[in-house]
């Protein structure tokens, strides 16, 4: 299954494509079940998980309420440790910062560790545009890069592919025929990517958390590609969404404990790296140059609104695994980089287009996302608020139509008339015949089947 661009098909059409993939449904069900049950087991190590969730929600709200000061402190500490700090208001600016560094330093080969922010801003395409070769080094991310896809889960990017489909993607860069055992595929990736790490001029990573009090960047990984990306090439560029900052190491302790357990059910991931500046003279190894790009790209428009708490999201993916919609459709049906309930909230807020607004409908409002969220973001309240906002912004034509309908159905005589008209009209009406702006609304919607004789008529007849 390839990416379905949000502007080309409607939510309903994208969903239809997704549910039509039998292998996808099997992969998804197995993976989301496993991840959800691992989360509950891992929470068993907490004496009071609810209290931690509540502390995390409180801490994030505190950080967000004083975000300018915290960011300023972070930037000061980063600079004091020798990091070059860049500020980017938009996706375009963020990409420009990185391509400029690449061009100035004559960078030709880049290795990347998984970063949803770079997916959001389209960094790979921007680097590709200046002729830089980019290799994704997270195993799942490399598989989908080779397949020309985007991630369908924020933690397990190739969750929608089974082992044979993963093998097929890796086969495109292997001279030898590959088997489909995950252990063998991982061994192949280690071998094939090791030389790329050693040859890379620049490593690009995301950041899970930035700790303002010391100017440290925290990277949470399992494979070790994050460590290689930030340790082997001479230049490290870290992409940081401005909301991913924490004030203190005390807060990091709390958020790390929640993140790894919520994401994969691990008490801790294999590697948790804290990077503070470029390599120091007596250390000998490590990058000579570290850049941090602090990215806004729509986040400041969420800050201070009723959706502010969405900026507390730590990208663990727990809401995806819990969501009855995601579990059936997978991530691609959401149409952009962030899937599941967190994506259904973020996509309309960050993209601000009509097609993006529709993504808020991809939810049953059951609240499973909220229960699963390690920082207690009331996701279902936000989804409802987004739908309300969408309704308020609906076109005049749509609102007028609903008003006429409401008026007609409020009086018995016009109600009866409308039923008769409806029965005749639906038989003649084909929504796909509509043109213009109305067409956008009608696409993906089906006319209800109105019976030839209404219930009222049938009732009357049966009593005769």
């Amino acid at each position: 299954m390839t990416v379905i661009p949000i502007e080309e098909l409607t939510l309903r059409q994208r969903t239809a494509v997704a549910v039509d993939e039998p292998r996808l449904r099997i992969s998804l069900e197995r993976a989301t079940d496993t991840l959800s049950s691992r989360q509950s087991t891992a929470y068993g190590q907490f004496a009071d998980p609810e209290r931690l969730r509540s502390a995390a929600r409180a801490a994030k709200a505190q950080v967000l309420s004083r975000l300018p000061d915290v960011l300023e402190q972070l930037a000061d500490r980063l600079e004091a440790s020798g990091v070059v700090v860049h500020w980017a208001s938009t996706d375009r600016e963020a990409c420009d910062v990185v391509t400029t560094i690449a061009m100035e330093r004559g960078v030709r080969r880049v290795v990347k560790s998984k970063s949803m922010l770079t997916e959001e801003i389209g960094l790979n395409q921007a680097l590709d545009g200046i002729g830089v070769e980019v290799t994704e080094t997270d195993l799942g991310e490399w598989i989908i890069q080779l397949a020309g896809e985007t991630p369908s889960h924020i933690i397990v990017p190739a969750i929608h592919r089974d082992r044979a489909q993963c093998r097929d993607a890796l086969q495109t860069v292997s001279d030898e025929p590959l088997g489909d055992a995950p252990q063998d595929l991982a061994a192949f990736a280690r071998e094939a990517l090791r030389s790329r790490f050693l040859a890379a001029d620049m490593g690009i990573s995301g950041v899970n958390f930035a700790v303002a009090e010391s100017g440290s960047l925290i990277l949470v990984t399992n494979e070790g590609n994050g460590r290689l990306t930030t340790s082997v090439p001479p230049i490290h560029v870290a992409m940081l969404g401005m909301e991913r900052v924490l004030e203190s190491w005390d807060q990091l302790d709390l958020f790390l404990a929640l993140l790894t357990r919520a994401a994969t059910g691990q008490p801790i991931t294999t590697y948790v790296s804290a990077i503070t500046g470029p390599a120091q003279a007596e250390e000998g190894e490590g990058p000579e140059e570290v850049h941090v790009v602090i990215v806004d790209n729509g986040r400041s428009e969420i800050l201070g609104t009723e959706f502010t708490e969405m900026l507390a999201c730590i990208r663990c993916g727990a809401c995806l695994n819990a969501c009855p919609v995601y579990r059936v459709t997978g991530g691609h049906a959401y149409g952009w980089v962030y899937p599941g309930p967190m994506g259904a909230v973020l996509t309309p807020l960050l993209l601000e287009s009509e097609a993006a607004g529709e993504v808020a409908d991809a939810s049953s409002l059951c609240g499973a996302c909220w229960e699963a969220c390690p920082v207690g973001i009331p996701l279902q309240d936000m989804l409802l608020a987004l739908r309300r906002r969408q309704a308020e912004e609906a076109t005049l034509a749509e609102r007028t139509a609903w008003r006429v309908w409401a008026a007609a159905w409020s009086r018995p005589s016009t109600y009866r008339a409308s039923l008769r008209t409806g029965a005749i009209a639906t038989g003649m009406f084909d929504p796909s015949s509509l043109r213009g702006p109305v067409r956008r609304w009608s696409d993906g919607r089906e006319m209800p089947k109105v019976p030839k004789r209404s219930f009222r008529q049938q009732w009357k007849e049966s009593r005769q």
Binding site: R30, F46, A58, A186, L228, S231, L303
Partner: protein
């Protein structure tokens, strides 16, 4: 291009009226106290050994044995041609053991040489009982690749450096790093792993395939 002042001004303007109250689900004011865990960590060493084992690390030596006996045993199993050794104090004497066993030591601060090593040996600044993690400090080790590039990583951990929880490290960073933070501190828990294909755990995808821990005094 946006500069710092413009960027921060936009954020300040957004927060002009603060964060609107959530009437339905008011924000809590729960304090961020040290985390209470359910596993019994009173026997710190025992808990560390158990958690490290759960994470897939192998315990290869205890403080009762001489370090060179432990190192020689590891050399017998791993059979390395080239070994990378860090400058952590726990590694004192390791180079002599390697040389007398006729094993080459990779040149320090040489990425290609370290990448070609079959075994990396480092010390650790701390061990964490709850998770079985070891904490490796780039300044103390004078480098960061010996724990990363070779297929096998042997870490020498002093039993006196084992604490109960990650919070005992994170919430006391100033005590652990009184001279400021090194450019790289890494908590390592078990061998490198991936679950990216059908969530099946595979080991050694980019980092070491095996993590060996020798407890020293």
């Amino acid at each position: 291009m946006t500069d710092k002042q413009q960027f921060l001004e936009t954020v300040r303007v957004a927060l002009r009226d603060g964060i609107p109250p959530n009437l339905l689900r008011p924000l809590p004011d729960t304090p961020n106290d040290p985390i209470e865990y359910t596993p019994d960590l009173s026997d710190t060493l025992g808990a560390f050994i158990r958690s490290a084992g759960d994470s897939g690390a192998e315990l290869v030596g205890t403080p009762d044995e001489a370090l060179d006996v432990v190192v020689r045993r590891v050399l017998d199993t791993v059979a390395p041609k080239v070994v990378a050794v860090s400058n952590d104090p726990e590694c004192d004497g390791v180079a002599e053991t390697l040389t007398s066993a006729g094993i080459e030591i990779s040149a320090p601060n040489d990425i290609a040489a370290t990448a070609a090593a079959d075994l990396g040996i480092t010390g650790a600044v701390a061990g964490i009982a709850l998770t079985g993690s070891v904490v490796v400090d780039a300044k103390r080790a004078k480098g960061r690749l010996a724990s990363l590039l070779p297929k096998v990583h042997l870490v020498l951990l002093s039993t006196r450096r084992i604490v109960s929880t990650p919070g005992d490290v994170f919430r006391k960073m100033d005590d652990w790093f009184p001279d400021g933070l090194p450019s790289n501190v890494v908590l390592i828990t078990g061998p490198s792993r991936s679950a990216d294909i059908e969530l099946e755990i595979t080991e050694g995808v980019h980092g070491p395939q095996q993590l060996l821990i020798a407890l020293v005094d």
